[in-house]
């Protein structure tokens, strides 16, 4: 079985080509996950690029990306597979005079099987990246289902038997840590916690994502965001917000970053009223005046 990446440097280079700048932690964990053939569990605050990483890995390895978006109440039928009841009923009514035995053999065949993401990822003959997104949103039962998939890369369908992976997919599980995942699941994965990036890396990310931004603005933008993260806010701005903010500044044609500009665009960075108040107070931002946008 071919490995996904040759070395850590290889990971860094190919992810960078795919438009994702990985830190040492990220590049090493991705390399090891591919090397050891284990799923990678990624945790971290919202907006630091957990899902983006999966997409970048798919691009970098020219794999198909199969995504299972978890939500409360997701079940076997949405995650693994489902029998197409309506079609089975049609088939039974269409062949009235057939015996029970042959009907039974016919309605439980591939033709009536609806593949859901997990089964699709396992049966895909091409190289695959399987992204199980926001697993903490799903119920605990789903974790039980995942154990077989993540541990042995196989799925048991009672009527058909066990389906084993043709090629081991690269599995990425993300979680916002809204609830603790079970020990059994964690044991089968490598663990990566993505935090806010260093100022240097964040500058590089802004430069990559918003090349239109004035070169002289890159530094202060990242610094202001860094300072905001040091305050005790309800939701600190993450990379996604930094990039949005940089785009906003480009759209406003801001040439330098003054208190008034920050104040009038604070809504892009902070999403809570209380956070606005703290930021205005601690950064001593001036009152927003009309026509002060640039």
């Amino acid at each position: 079985m071919s490995k996904f990446f040759g070395s850590v440097d290889d990971v860094t280079r190919r992810l960078t080509d795919a438009g994702y700048l990985p830190s040492t932690d990220i590049a090493t964990a991705v390399f090891l996950a591919g090397h050891l053939g284990k799923p990678l569990l990624i945790e971290g605050p919202a907006g630091v690029g957990k899902t983006e990483l999966a997409k970048a890995i798919a691009t970098a390895t020219t794999s198909d990306l199969v995504r299972l978006q978890c939500y409360e109440g997701i079940d076997e039928a949405r995650a693994l597979y489902e029998w197409n009841h309506a079609k089975q009923l049609l088939r039974i009514t269409a062949t009235d005079n057939e015996g029970w035995d042959s009907t039974r053999d016919h309605v439980f065949t591939e033709e009536f099987l609806l593949q859901r993401p997990l089964l699709a990822a396992i049966r895909n003959p091409h190289s695959t990246v399987l992204l199980i997104d926001e697993l903490d949103k799903a119920d605990v039962e789903l974790e039980g289902l995942l154990l077989e998939v993540l541990g042995d890369f196989q799925i048991s369908i009672p009527e058909l038997g066990t389906v084993t992976a043709l090629r081991k997919p690269f599995v990425i599980v993300t979680s916002n840590a809204n609830r603790e995942l079970s020990e059994a699941l964690k044991r089968r994965c490598l663990y990566l916690h993505i935090d806010y990036p260093t100022a240097e890396l964040e500058r590089a990310i802004v430069r990559l994502k918003v090349p239109e931004l004035d070169e002289t603005l890159g530094e202060p933008v990242v610094r202001v965001v860094g300072a905001l993260r040091e305050l005790s806010l309800r939701k600190a701005p993450s990379i996604a917000e930094t990039v949005d903010w940089a785009r906003t500044l480009v759209a406003l044609r801001a040439r330098n970053l003054t208190g008034a500009v920050v104040r009038s665009t604070l809504g892009v960075l902070l999403k809570y009223q209380a956070d606005h108040r703290i930021a205005i107070e601690r950064l001593e931002l001036p009152e927003a005046r009309e026509g002060q946008a640039s």
């Binding site: 390399f31 090891l32 996950a33 309506a86 049609l90 044991r187």
Partner: protein, 470 residues
């Protein structure tokens, strides 16, 4: 100036490395990181795959294999440094720089955010300022016994360096002229200074480990992870970190509560939705849909000890209670030291309380007459004035250490309260083994009311999860 480090160039034999890894994992377990054998095997494979040359990579890789939870990384890093980095022998430069010159260099390195220079400076500062008891005088190669008292101290270093006074100069060195730049740079300078402090501490630990043997320091000199720091013994920087832990915790508990409610649906069939769903199965209603039951939301009454001995604890619990109040119909909070007063109005819905709320409440409300805890009086005050706050749907939560200064515990008042409430619980920030010591009435109270030990964020999370109404 010391030369750039040449760490980890020697390749130890494989057997020694295995032993070292196993010993390392054993220590991780001692510090509450439960890595099993399969994780150890992964870590070994990671070591093979990554090689030992690049320590940063090795650290990232082993963290990926051995850790399973956010918040463990700080402990892991400290132990990793002890086990897999060998520090340079401290070299005394022939002419020790004056402290002023050293401070100038710290200012310029931090202003430019020059990592390599900062790391070098941390080492140098420790060499020149942090040695005590004869460490660093040339005979460091022989292990020093603990009794000899020699070692390296980050505290001594920082005391002579006084980096707090440098903030203004660092900010000036970072350039920028507007007001915004100044405030932003001050915050940033503080952060860098903290990083510098950590670097000095790490270096001091490394060198002390060399003097005393790795295991000695690894067991004693490593800070425990934040969710296991005691409320009562927490320092200022721990508190800030713990606050960050409590916020997501509250949301986590709230989602769990919501999920539990949804699952308890049973009863009448919802015809409309059942028929709608049966379309997928050709009109056969295979999965009936049940009508969701309306839940009355329960009330919560919190009674918190705000006396000086437990302020840290009270603040956290208030924060958590605040965040949970969306889930509860009505939250009323009361504070007490030696009398009892309602403090609900000190919290605004949807906004976490700011640090220092507890102190503000004590100043502006009627919770203290003489200022030392008197549980008997406080409970009586509640019974006299606010007993109607408790009803058949109310959960009562009392927070405090039950140290009554040898006054009457007033069990009758507590009994009256717990009789009226649906549930009554007591959270005690003291370890249960000291409940019966000194002036603590915890044991007496525990006979009348369920008392939980609640010493750190981890226990607080467990207790609150258990208390949530189902």
């Amino acid at each position: 100036m010391t030369t750039r480090s040449t760490r980890g160039t020697a390749q130890p034999p494989a057997d020694a490395m295995t032993d070292r890894l196993v010993e390392f994992v054993g220590l991780l377990r001692d510090h509450g990181i439960a890595a099993g054998p399969s994780e150890t095997i992964d870590a070994a494979e990671a070591m093979l795959a990554l090689g030992l040359a690049d320590r940063n990579r090795l650290r990232s890789g082993m963290a990926a294999c051995l850790l399973r939870r956010n918040g463990q990384r700080a402990v892991f890093d400290q132990l990793f440094d002890l086990y897999f980095l060998t520090p340079d022998q401290p070299q005394l430069s022939s002419t020790p720089e004056s402290i002023d010159a050293l401070r100038d260099r710290v200012v310029s390195a931090l202003a430019q955010d020059d990592r390599a220079a900062t790391a070098d400076l941390a080492r140098q500062a420790l060499t020149e300022l942090g040695a005590y008891g004869g460490a660093g005088t040339g005979q460091t190669s022989a292990p020093v016994t603990t009794a000899s008292g020699a070692g390296w101290s980050s505290y001594l270093t920082m005391k002579s360096l006084r980096p707090e006074d440098l903030i203004a100069r660092i900010v000036a060195g970072m350039g920028g002229n507007s007001d915004l730049d100044t405030t932003v740079h001050t915050i940033e300078a503080n952060r860098r200074l903290n990083a510098f402090r950590t670097a000095v501490q790490t270096e001091a630990r490394l060198r002390s480990a060399q003097l005393r043997g790795t295991e000695y320091i690894a067991r004693r000199g490593v800070q425990s992870s934040t969710d296991q720091v005691d409320f009562l013994g927490a320092r200022e920087q721990d508190l800030a970190e713990m606050r960050r832990l409590v916020n997501p915790l509250a949301r986590k508990l709230a989602t769990r509560l919501a999920a539990r409610r949804r699952k308890s649906v049973r009863g009448q069939i919802d015809m409309r939705r059942t028929l709608r769903r049966s379309m997928a199965t050709g009109g056969v209603p295979i999965a009936p849909v049940l009508r969701a039951r309306k839940h009355g939301r329960p009330d919560l009454v919190v009674l918190a000890d705000l006396s000086g001995s437990v302020t840290g604890f009270a603040e956290f619990t208030l924060q958590l209670v605040q965040a949970l109040q969306d889930q509860f119909n009505k939250v009323r909070s009361f504070g007490f030291i030696d009398t009892c007063d309602e403090i609900t109005s000190f919290f605004t819905p949807g906004e976490p309380p700011t640090p220092g709320t507890a102190a503000r409440i004590v100043r502006n409300s009627n919770v203290a007459r003489f200022g030392s805890s008197n549980y008997g009086e406080a409970l009586q005050g509640f019974v006299d004035n606010y007993l109607d706050a408790l009803g058949p749907r109310t959960s009562l939560l009392i927070l405090g250490d039950a140290r009554t200064n040898r006054t009457d515990p007033n069990l009758a008042a507590l009994q009256a309260m717990s009789d009226r409430a649906k549930h009554a619980y007591w959270l005690n920030p003291e370890p249960s083994r000291s409940w019966s010591t000194g002036d603590s009435a915890a044991d007496v109270y525990a006979e009348r009311i369920t008392m939980h030990e609640c010493r750190n964020v981890k226990q607080l999370a467990e207790v609150i999860a258990r208390l949530l109404p189902t």
